[in-house]
């Protein structure tokens, strides 16, 4: 039995220790907003927050995640600047990579609330979006940063 803390709730799951956290979140906790893209930590579709940091849940075992504070896209408030900016800028196309990318952006903004263009590119150069929404991801990040700058209030 493994104990997990996800989005402020406690869960106990009966899985082998080496099961990737991603599949526990999706198949056992039924939080399917976190996506499977590659299984090797290359694309970022599975990104969640572990103790506030963006991590690739497909390459972290459930055992490694035990006892730590995990947040998934479902746990990011609807009023979160990133979620608001993603709607405002219409960043999303198919939407499959969006939750993971948004989690990575949320972590970036909590570390660096006003990232410049170079910082944005460096921080987001390890995600893949096949629809090609990159220019809007950049725009979304700038808009989210503005919302953060205004204390979460929309302009």
């Amino acid at each position: 039995m493994i104990s997990l803390n996800v989005n402020g709730k406690s869960y106990r799951v009966d899985v082998s220790d080496d099961t990737p956290l991603l599949w526990v979140i999706r198949d056992y906790l039924k939080l399917t907003g976190t996506k499977f893209g590659c299984g090797i930590g290359e694309c970022g579709a599975c990104t969640v927050h572990i103790d506030g940091k963006a991590e690739r849940s497909c390459v972290i075992s459930v055992k490694q995640a035990q006892g730590r504070k995990i947040t998934t896209i479902e746990g990011l408030p609807q009023s979160h600047p990133v979620k608001r900016a993603w709607i405002e800028e219409q960043v999303v196309q198919c939407g499959y990579c969006s939750p993971g990318i948004m989690m990575q952006v949320a972590a970036l903004l909590s570390e660096s609330p006003k990232p410049n263009a170079e910082k944005i590119i460096n921080a987001m150069d390890n995600v893949i979006c096949r629809c090609g929404t990159h220019v809007r991801i950049k725009r979304g990040i700038r808009t989210a940063a503005q919302i953060v700058g205004k204390g979460g209030k929309k302009s």
Partner: protein, 734 residues
């Protein structure tokens, strides 16, 4: 009409609540409307492609057959209905309909979401349908109030009688309106009265996608569902020599091993157990049919085939004579490699075969083909096969194929439980049907005025239609492989070479490589436009003309192509000098009824061969714009994925199979390579074209032309990797 039963059953279910339902039937011969309110019998003989229902709670529920994969079709179709209906946008909801012949797109004659065809096929009919609903609601209100219809006006989900200050919401009127006859030719709005059409509307599916709540195929969960993964052949044509079924079935959580035509499935209670079971299976495969196949073999085969005789596709004028008499004649050989779809959601499907029925939950671009193969594999008649379409984690053409449906139905039938088949990313790339690799040889000639007078072109490629519509491959010619150069006769899509060339010869040879190919965003318009537009640039150079001027001179009869070229050039500052090491290139192409031109500004580092694209300016004429927000997004996305093919993507092969396995060794464009992308929509009253694909073709040639402009090196093969750019620069100096 077997499938209409399930469609009617579906309608019956959806028509439980009393309300006004308008069904629209669109065929290649015109459209018809029906008041389908609560009376399924009214639908016998009537074949709606789309319908919408206004319910007493004011909600407007729209059901469409087209799949939503991020291209914004559901929103655009809803905008058209809502605008003419004068519906309140907040009350609109769109759902995927079931598989049904009635859902066929009239342009495609199939229920397929391909060919950038959904909005343009349904624009006029849906305007009529919405307007009919509005007329009926007005009539219902006028008779309720006992006032003339002419004094009533529909506005944002209500009918108003200004004189008396009365107003009724559509929800209050829908029951009365449901009893009225549907007008076949209702008055349409003037364009100036549009409330939604032409405005940048927010997509309806984005909020649930941002919340993480949208359901994709991999998110499907059915009670008692099991998970299956497949062990698949490592080389083309490889067969299993041995595998250890007992070892696999001995793994904790594994239920059953199921051998099938596409591989050997391991079905388990969890994905983790299925993957462990697959490892334990330890399949030994033979070497397959082409053990020597690798990238070198492929390139030699396709280029070598250029020496073999092909089939004549077009012969216009006297190309031989024209080329012989040309003031200048040049010849070039081009090559385009295999490219993977690699949609972010790997292929998957969930099926449940039991009690003479079969349910399939699948992110598909082709519901009818999914239904057909599910019926064939399960033995369940098609009318008992229900296709539940989920959101698609990108499609790109890959999801029109039904191979993943075969997997899931086969295993579910065998184990008698709901089964979700998950493809790992490695399988998704290795067992893709790729964008076809091609080789081209062209000769082109110009006269002393710089006019294109002769063009002779030979293409070698695998067949795209061989698996989709084998009867369409005639005399050894696959027109879809030639799209961009040649289109089907009288096709309004204009997937053909746009230049005025009086003497034109096109020849085609089918490659016999065993590698499966399939449509990939814009189909072969992409690779073929790369070749055409690069070669046109070579001709402009030979004519000592500016590339834009040369194109305009040879596109005199094509105003739409000229206009997008001029717009893109103007917005990009064509002709303005650039610093050393930078270059600017232009290209245009038309496909799926839409015209696009793009100008690329880039920098080339001549020391390491790296290319940095700085800016792409696109101009698009797609006829009337329904949702400019989506049009811009689609062109941005198309430019981005096309840049990825221009700079990065090439599938690697070895030992008779695919070597590329995951994103670690299949390069896709990332944030640091993304330029600024500007999209200009040219105002146009022309016939509406598609928007999902036409942004792709001009990008790669515009990049190549810009590299030539920056360095003087012409590269006739994508991707423009640093090694290839460096080699071309070296070559130039010799």
């Amino acid at each position: 009409m077997t499938t209409s039963i399930s469609r009617r059953a579906f309608l019956k279910g959806s028509l439980g609540a009393a309300g006004l339902t308008i069904a629209v039937s669109v065929t290649p011969f015109g459209s018809r409307l029906l008041n389908a309110s609560g009376k399924e019998e009214a639908l016998s003989g009537f074949k709606p492609n789309i319908w919408f229902e206004i319910k007493p709670d004011n909600k407007v529920a729209i059901t469409v057959g087209a799949s939503e994969m991020g291209q914004g079709t559901h929103t655009a179709l809803a905008m058209i209905i809502a605008d003419e209906l004068e519906a309140d946008w907040k009350q609109i909801k769109v759902s995927h309909g079931p598989a049904a012949k009635e859902f066929k797109n009239p342009i495609l004659d199939d229920q397929l979401t391909v060919g950038s065809a959904s909005v343009r096929a349904f624009y006029e009919p849906l305007r009529k349908a919405g307007a009919a609903g509005r007329a009926m609601l007005i009539k219902a209100a006028a008779s309720t109030w006992n006032v003339p219809e002419s004094e009533c006006k529909a506005e944002k989900g209500t009918v108003q009688h200004k004189k008396s200050g009365r107003s009724l919401a559509y929800g209050k009127l829908c029951v009365a309106a449901a009893k009225l006859q549907v007008p076949q030719d209702p008055p349409l709005k003037k364009e100036s009265e549009f409330r939604y059409i032409g405005k940048p509307m927010l997509r309806l599916d984005i909020p649930e996608k941002v919340a993480g709540a949208a359901k994709f195929g991999l998110d499907v969960a059915i009670p008692n569902m099991e998970i299956a993964v497949f062990s698949r052949p490592p080389a083309y044509g490889a067969k299993p020599i041995s595998f250890d079924q007992n070892a696999a079935e001995g793994v904790k959580g594994v239920r059953k091993v199921v051998p099938g035509p596409q591989g050997i499935a391991v079905c388990a209670e969890s994905l983790q157990a299925a993957l462990k079971g697959r490892d334990a299976l330890n399949v030994k495969w033979d070497k397959g049919t082409h053990p020597q196949l690798d990238n070198d073999f492929i390139e030699k085969s396709l280029i070598g085939d250029l020496e073999k005789p092909g089939a004549k596709v077009i012969e216009k004028g006297d190309p031989k004579k024209a080329l012989g008499e040309a003031r200048k004649k040049i010849e070039a050989t081009y090559f385009v490699p295999f490219v993977a779809h690699a949609t972010m959601e790997p292929m998957n499907c969930t099926a449940y075969v039991r009690d003479g029925r079969c349910d399939v939950w699948v992110p598909t671009q082709g519901q009818l083909v999914a239904q057909f193969v599910a019926s064939q594999v399960s033995g369940v008649p098609p009318e008992k096969v229900q296709i539940h379409t989920t959101f698609l984690g990108c499609g790109l053409g890959r999801r029109a194929a039904p191979d993943f449906v075969v997997d899931a139905v086969l295993v579910s039938k065998e184990v008698g439980k709901p089964v979700k088949v998950v493809w790992t990313r490695e399988e998704d790339i290795k067992y893709d049907a790729f964008r076809a690799a091609m080789s081209h040889r062209i000769e082109g000639g110009i006269d002393d005025q710089g006019r294109l007078i002769g063009w002779s072109h030979k293409v070698v490629s695998g067949s795209i239609m061989k698996d989709i519509a084998p009867q369409a491959v005639q005399g050894g010619v696959d027109i879809m492989s030639l799209w961009g150069l040649v289109d089907f006769p009288n096709s309004p899509d204009n997937n053909r070479i746009m230049y005025d060339i009086p003497n034109l010869y096109i020849e085609f040879l089918l490659s016999d490589l065993p590698i499966p190919v399939a449509p990939w965003r814009s189909v072969q318009n992409g690779p073929n436009a790369f070749v055409i537009e690069s070669f046109v640039d070579e001709l402009a150079h030979a004519a000592a003309k500016d590339p834009l001027e040369f194109r305009l001179q040879n596109l005199k009869t094509n105003m739409r192509a000229s206009r997008v070229l001029e717009t893109a050039a103007k917005k990009a500052g064509w002709g303005k000098p650039l610093p050393k090491g930078q270059g600017r290139g232009i290209a245009q192409h038309s496909c799926f009824g839409t015209y696009v031109a793009e100008v690329v500004d880039l920098s080339v580092n001549e020391k390491d061969g790296s290319v940095k694209v700085n800016r792409v300016v696109a101009a698009v004429d797609c006829g009337p714009a329904v949702n400019p927000n989506t049009i811009k997004a689609q062109i941005e996305g198309a430019v981005t994925i096309a840049l990825s093919t221009a700079l990065k993507e090439e599938v690697k092969f070895s030992n008779g199979g695919v070597k590329s396995a995951n994103f670690a060794d299949y390069n896709i464009i990332k944030m640091s390579d993304i330029p600024e992308i500007e999209v200009h929509i040219v105002e146009s009253k022309e016939k509406m074209g598609g928007i999902g694909e036409p942004g792709v073709p001009p990008t790669a040639p515009a990049v190549g032309n810009a590299i030539f402009n920056a360095t003087g090196a012409r590269i006739r093969r994508i991707p423009f990797t640093p090694e290839r750019v460096l080699a071309a620069i070296k070559d130039r100096r010799i």
